[in-house]
Each structure stands twice: as structure tokens, then as C-alpha cells.
């Protein structure tokens, strides 16, 4: 995307929302505003919300909107600098030392350096979108390490010196809130909480994501999913599951199952917990029939 185009699509929250919709991601005003502010203020964007509300999808949509490559860093417990920043290829270094014999060799040469996502982003010639996914799964120490990266967009490699970003990346962090993040991280970011959409918006998302699904089916699925989510389930269904349910029911219906039956038979793609399934099963027929109106 040319620079002028990038400026045009990020000119206002409305322009961003329209462009996201073109990338098949429906953002409400608040999310579009948060994305707009993060891009214009040059700050990281922190997205929090329950699993399955579309946080990672939002990051992918932003990368598509800006026409930038997405670099993803998936966090997990125990992730450290070696996994996120850089690592030396020790085996190759050892081999090189052995082969060098009496000759002098620089074992901290570029060919021994393995760039992990954060370093990849800094060394990239063009701007990248960096997705730090599920930051809440990492340890507090990693959050502190990231803090340093986020404030200066640079990495210090003791053997090589400091590497600064050629162009400042756009950073999006996601969290499921399995633990509270440090205040220091929150205050450096533009923040947005993504909740489950209402029935009307969810129906729009289903129609947009599953093109074979009829509008009436999408509405029925959205209504039924709202009703199901209101129950105390072990794993409340996310938006992706709702889309899959609409798709699966449509396929079954085209294969000859009549409507309420097609929904019931496809329930396995919506609810993926055996106990939830047995809890909802007795009422499923009523929920679907009411949703179909």
C-alpha cells in the first residue's frame, strides 16, 4: 500500500472501521477509535477480552488494513529473551570454532544470529505489525522485558550493540485476563476491552464470514448463541464457533436435514465440552425454535 493510501485509511476512526469491514472484520466505534489512536499516537494497542471475541483477528485485520506484514509472538509460561528477541546458533558456532583451527573467527557474526519475532520486526526494512498474543500467559519478568522494548523500540545485544527499529512497528498485544497485567504495561498502551457482540452485530459477522449462510440463519444462530452464552457453561462459545455452527447447520440442511434438526446435529461445533453439551441438550430444541422465530 502506498503511503498516501495508508494515511487515507487511518484518517479517522470511521475510515478505519470501513476498511476493516472491507477486510471482513466488523469493529464497533470504540474499537475503531482505539485502533485509530494507537496508530496516530504511535503507542501499542492492548486488547483484552474473553477467549473467542476476536482479539487476534483484530490484529490480523489491522495488518491487512495497513498492507503490512504481521509478525506474531505467541506467549506462554517460561517465554524469555531467547524465544522473543534473539538466540545464537550455538551448534553452528561450535562447528565454526572447530573448523577455524588456528584462524581467527567472529562467532558473533550475523550468520550465527537467529532473529526471533521482536528482532525480526526491528530489522525489517518496512514497517511491520507485531502481534504479542496472550501476554497474560507469560511471566512477570517477560512483561518487564517487553516494557523496555515497547518504550524505545530497540534491543541491546551485548556482543553486537544496540539495534534500533528502522521504522517504528505497530504493536498489538492481546490478553484473556487470566492474570492482571502490570500497571506499567497498561499505561504505556492504548487500551480496549472487547466484549461479546450483541445479537444483531453477531448476525452481521456470521453473514460476512460465512458467505453460504442465509441471513435468516445467521440471525437465528446469533439469537441462539446469545441465549446459550447467558448460561453458566464451562466454555462459553466464541464468535468463531457461532460462525462454524451456522456453516455446519447450512451444510446439513443442504444435505437434507430439516431446520431445527440440522442445528441440533451440528451443535458439536458450537459447544466443545461434554458437560456443557449434556447441560444444554434438553433445552436446545426450545432455544433453536425460539431463535428461528
Amino acid at each position: 500500500m502506498a503511503n498516501a493510501d495508508a494515511v487515507a485509511v487511518t484518517a479517522s476512526p470511521e475510515a478505519i472501521a470501513a476498511r476493516l469491514a472491507a477486510s471482513r472484520y466488523l469493529a464497533d466505534d470504540s474499537l475503531a477509535t482505539a485502533i485509530f489512536l494507537a496508530i496516530r499516537l504511535g503507542k501499542p494497542l492492548l486488547l483484552e477480552g474473553a477467549p473467542g471475541v476476536g482479539k487476534t483477528e483484530a490484529a490480523k485485520a489491522v495488518a491487512e488494513l495497513l498492507g503490512r506484514e504481521l509478525v506474531r509472538l505467541q506467549c506462554y509460561e517460561g517465554i524469555d529473551a531467547g524465544h522473543a528477541l534473539y538466540e545464537w546458533n550455538y551448534q553452528r558456532q561450535l562447528l565454526a570454532i572447530r573448523h577455524a583451527g588456528e584462524h581467527e573467527i567472529d562467532i558473533y557474526d550475523d550468520r550465527f544470529l537467529i532473529a526471533r519475532p521482536l528482532l525480526q520486526v526491528l530489522r525489517a526494512p518496512a514497517q511491520r505489525v507485531l502481534l504479542v498474543d496472550e501476554i497474560d500467559r507469560s511471566d512477570h519478568e517477560f512483561e518487564a522485558l517487553l516494557l523496555e522494548f515497547l518504550s524505545d523500540f530497540q534491543i541491546s545485544i551485548p556482543e553486537r550493540g544496540t539495534i534500533r527499529a528502522a521504522t517504528q512497528p505497530i504493536v498489538i498485544l492481546t490478553s484473556n485476563r487470566t492474570r492482571e497485567l502490570a500497571e506499567a504495561l497498561r499505561r504505556r498502551c492504548v487500551y480496549h476491552w472487547i466484549g461479546y457482540p450483541d445479537a444483531e452485530r453477531e448476525a452481521e459477522i456470521i453473514t460476512l464470514r460465512a458467505s453460504d449462510v442465509a441471513e435468516a440463519t445467521a440471525r437465528a444462530v446469533a439469537n441462539a448463541v446469545q441465549e446459550i452464552r447467558a448460561r453458566p457453561l464451562a466454555k462459553p462459545p466464541g464468535i468463531a464457533e457461532a460462525v462454524e455452527w451456522a456453516n455446519a447447520a447450512t451444510i446439513l440442511e443442504k444435505g437434507g436435514s430439516p431446520w431445527p434438526e440440522a442445528f441440533r446435529r451440528a451443535i458439536g461445533v458450537l459447544i466443545k465440552d461434554e458437560e456443557d453439551l449434556s447441560a444444554i441438550a434438553p433445552e436446545l430444541g426450545r432455544i433453536v425454535e425460539e431463535a428461528l422465530g
Partner: protein
Amino acid sequence: MPRSAQPFLGFARLLRRHAFAIAPEQVIGFMQSVTLLGPRSMNDIREAALATLAPPPDRRGEFEAHFRAYFYGDAKPSIKGEEDDETRVKDDRGTREEENQVARREKGGELSSALEQLSSRDFQRDADSLGQFRRKLATALPGRRSFRTARTRSRGTLDLRRSLSEIVSADGDIPSPLLRRRQPVPRKLLLLIDVSGSMKLHTADYLKLAHAAVQGADRAEVFTFGTRLTRITSALRVRDREHALVRAAALVDDWDGGTRMGPTLLAFLAVPRFSAFARGACVVILSDALERGDHTELETAMRRFSARTFRLSLASPLAGDPRFRPATSALRAILPALDDLVDGSSIGSLTDFILSLASPAPAAETIWKRVS
């Protein structure tokens, strides 16, 4: 400072007065955002405030109330209790008064209050044991192997990073290989405190214990439940106990009411971030488990907890009585899911039990079968 910036500074000051942590850089970000957005309407200012001042989701309602009061001149907001949508449990089964009337007619309630009068207190021992408990807790909880590694002298994997720098500094030689091993970390501790009417005599002690637990353990979470579910961990993080307990008390608004133990525990498990906290944790439920009516939901909740947790324990004040047996149908139904059913009648017995969580013990069902 231009005059037009004053209202935004004033709003940040107001939030700080109400214990929102707002950093100066956030205030600058707020004002820059307002400028970037126009602003074209009050909604732009609100969106800018939400994005840059980043109120925690559980205080979003309070934040909105302050915003309306400040920018729209609404009446002073009345802020009470937890406003987190995720933690709110819809109380749609009649009023509390009705529940209390029903509870009074029930045998369980009578049994509970009769036994509660039997329990005795030793205040000095309580204070001492809480101090010791706080100091010992971090090392007393059962451990697990973390994915973080630390250097070790034996039984580890080769640490190539450090070995290589040793090789270079020793001119191509290495006296002994350097090893790393996964570090042990303490498991999480989750306390679920019953604040219903039948537990009235014990809730104050339980909160003191919970405060010591949050102060002592690396990762501890505390919830109260009665007719609603309330997360009070953040209130208990305040070091001063009296201050922390006042804050916690203000969050809970179903003190001494009825109990809907099954539905509230199921609601806990239905919130993914809470449920994730229970995974692999030591969960201690402080309750008499006197569930009214049908106990199917309680049984389901306990089974789900049991499948997620490392150790699931029920500490009941009734178990302090030597004559106690898990005889109610609810207790009989949940006993197979429990790892422990222990005495929760005093701070001393509870601290001793929590500090012993790392030692293996036979399942609750086996023990109580032997006793009965």
C-alpha cells in the same frame, strides 16, 4: 497550560482521588487523543478517556459514572460493589428476604447455627498463627515444575549458551559442562469464601486469613459467594489489614444473605479467566455446604472443579465438632469430588491445613468412610 486543557486535567485528578492509577503520560495521551478526534462530540472525549486512561474492566461502571458526573454534571455517582459484568451473577430467584424465610424453615440452617454456637475462640493464638502463616505460605504450597530454567550442578540439560562463553574464555576447552533444569514454582491458591447467613460467625476470620494468604503467596485469588460472586483479591492486596478488610467489605453486597452455592460456583467456572485460575491450583472452599433444595448444580460444579484443580478442599466450620459426619445429601453427593473435607471452625485449624497442602493425604471419601 491552555485553559481548554483544564477540564481534562481535572477529570484525571478526580479519578486519582478515587484510587484510579493514572500516570502523567496517560493524561498527556488523553489530551492528545481528544485533539486527534476533533473532538466532534462528547462521545469522542469518552472514547479517548477509555482508550488512554484504561480503567480496569471491573471498575468500568465506576469510571463511566465519574465521567457522567464530571462532564455532564450528573448527580454525584453512587458507586457500590463490584461492577464487573463477568463477575456479576444474576440473582433472579426471588428476593433475599424470601430466601431467608425459606432458609429459616430448613433443617440445615438450624443445624448450622446450633453448631456455630459450640465453637470456641482463642484470639491470641489466631493472631500468632496468621503471622506465621503469612511468612510460611510461599514455601509451604505444593510446587510444580515451571518452564523457566535455572542453573544446576547435576541432573539437567546442557546449557549451550553459557557453556559456549565458557569455551571461548577457556580458549576452546571446558572443564565441566554447564547444566540447566526447570525451576520449581509454588502452585496457585484459590480461596472461595461463603458469606451467607449460616456462615456469619466465621466470615470475619476467613477474611483475615484470606488477607494473610494474598500477602504471603505469590499468586493467590480470593472470591466471596452467597447469592453473588465477588472477586476481592485486589482489595486484599493492600498491606494494612484493617484498611484491606474495609475495602473488601465494601465490594461484597450479599453479606449474611441466602446461599446459592451451586449456581455461583458454576458461574465462577463459566468466566474463562477465573476458570483458568483454578486450573492446576489448590482450591479451598470455606463453607458449610448447606445447599438448599436440589444439589445437582453443586455436584456438577464440584466435579468440574475437581477435574481442573490440583487439590480441591472443603473447609467446613461444622467439621470442628467431633460428632460431625458428612450426612446431608449435598455433602454425600460432593464427597467423591473432594480431596479434603476438613475443619474450618478456627483460624488455627485452617492455617495448619493450608500449610500442609503439599503433603499428600488420602481422599476425603476414604477418610470419612473410615470415621463413619
